[in-house]
């Protein structure tokens, strides 16, 4: 900015003979203005981070004639409206029978961290076992491959829980992601998305109805 003025001033001082000599200095101000304008534009429009994603595998539908196996050590989460979660453990029973009593739903929630606490509690045995293996691994008592195999076996063994996630028609996508996320955080063994069945839905509706009338 100053250069042109100075150049002009110099030309003026140098007398009439030199007045015609052109200054070789170019005023760069407009160019700099433009460069920074473009720079600002590109900086603001640039997207640096790629969207993150979560990998999930859905179960293949079983062949129609196959009998569904009874899930051992299953914990079923039922997601419904208003971000509420109900759960029950074991097999679903619509009524008392010789194997057990009628299923009763308990409630968990996202906001007060009760889901997190519950999962932590449930996976404690498995987590401790994995931690013990990890310690052995760190002390070089276990080879890498053996360690990985043992962890995998531990996660899949009969004492670890299988989590089933079911939603009714009022649950939102966010709830589903939140539950899966919580399961991932707690490194549980297995979880799967399953379709809800009618008796379960009835039980959930009953529960919602009961609480909404008392409120």
């Amino acid at each position: 900015m100053a250069e042109i003025q100075e150049g002009g001033g110099g030309g003026h001082k140098g007398g009439k003979k030199r007045a015609k000599k052109q200054s070789t200095r170019v005023d760069m101000t407009p160019m700099v203005d433009l460069a920074f304008l473009l720079l600002t534009f590109f900086v603001l429009t640039a997207t640096f981070s790629k969207p993150k994603s979560m990998e999930l595998t859905f179960p293949a539908p079983p062949p129609p004639d196959q009998k569904v196996d009874e899930v051992k050590n299953g914990i079923t989460f039922l997601l419904t409206q208003d971000d509420r979660i109900f759960y029950y453990e074991g097999q679903f029973r619509a009524a008392d029978d010789e194997k057990g009593t009628k299923t009763v739903l308990s409630e968990l929630n996202f906001s007060q961290g009760s889901l997190h606490k519950y999962l932590l509690d449930k996976s404690k045995v498995m987590q401790d076992a994995i931690k013990a293996l990890d310690a052995q691994h760190k002390n070089n008592q276990l080879a890498d491959t053996t360690f990985k195999r043992l962890v995998k076996e531990r996660k899949a063994d009969k004492e670890s829980y299988t989590y089933l996630i079911k939603t009714d028609d009022k649950a939102t996508y966010k709830n589903v992601i939140d539950v899966i996320d919580e399961l991932n955080i707690n490194v549980v063994g297995k979880y799967v998305m399953v379709d809800i069945i009618k008796p379960e839905m009835d039980l959930v509706n009953e529960k919602i109805g009961a609480t909404s009338t008392t409120n």
């Binding site: 003025q5 720079l39 900086v43 640039a46 790629k50 969207p51 939102t172």
Partner: protein, 232 residues
């Protein structure tokens, strides 16, 4: 500095390094910038701890909060091929210009019969788009009961073409003894946090019917990413 300015004017400042730097940065941002047209819907995905980057080569179904689904393929060659095959299947005519224009579009959510008109619509007018059938962007039809499951066809044909394009590119690179870095196409679902899960279920059902079981569910990073929502 002790040196006093010799004249009354402001001191000369050499701006050359600054200009150099400015242009260097401009060049960098220009070259790295990838321009995309605005998506037809703004979707605010829920957050999770998922750390996997969305694969560059993907086939994506976007579901907005009203349950409309939008379909998109990242690879433009595969997209053109898929459109040609879909056009033949549904007997809709596209001009070659429309096919090329289509490859540059982001995801779309219209019935294939309205697609030629949709492609010809100017970008700013797409929000108010009304096709020949009178329907707007109601989402790609995905009726799981009637045979009019266009989304299923899009996924099946789009997936096939994406794999073909990927393999062709790989073979070409192998022949020329070049390193080939691209990934296999993957299926992604992007969905708004407040969408009812039953809509997602319909889309997932469409995928599982095609024996596709693995997805990348797009989420924002835990801790709340900033979502710039131009509509608000």
């Amino acid at each position: 500095m002790s040196k006093k300015p010799s004249k009354g004017g402001a001191p000369a400042l050499d701006m050359t390094p600054m200009v150099d730097l400015a242009f260097l940065l401009v060049t960098f941002f220009m070259l790295t910038a990838s321009f995309r047209m605005a998506e037809p819907v703004v979707v605010d995905p829920p957050s999770s701890i998922g750390q996997v980057d969305l694969p560059d080569n993907h086939i994506m179904v976007t579901i907005d909060e009203k349950g409309r689904s939008f379909f998109g393929i990242s690879n433009s060659t595969a997209k053109m091929e898929a459109l040609k095959e879909m056009a033949a299947k549904y007997q809709v005519n596209f001009t070659p210009e429309q096919v090329v224009k289509f490859s540059g579009l982001p995801s779309f959510g219209v019935d294939i019969k309205d697609l030629p008109a949709y492609i010809d619509t100017k970008e700013d007018d797409r929000k108010k788009f009304r096709g020949p059938s009178g329907k707007g962007q109601t989402g790609v039809p995905l009726d799981t009961i009637t045979p009019n499951n266009q989304l299923k066809d899009w996924i099946a044909i789009g997936g096939k073409k994406a794999v073909e394009t990927y393999l062709a590119a790989r073979d070409k690179a192998l022949e020329a003894n070049q390193e080939f870095k691209a990934e296999k196409p993957r299926y992604a679902i992007k969905c708004d946090a407040s969408t009812k899960y039953i809509y997602v279920k319909d889309v997932v059902k469409t995928f599982t019917d095609l024996k596709i079981y693995q997805f990348n569910l797009i989420t924002s990073l835990e801790g709340g990413g900033t979502v710039i929502n131009p509509t608000k």
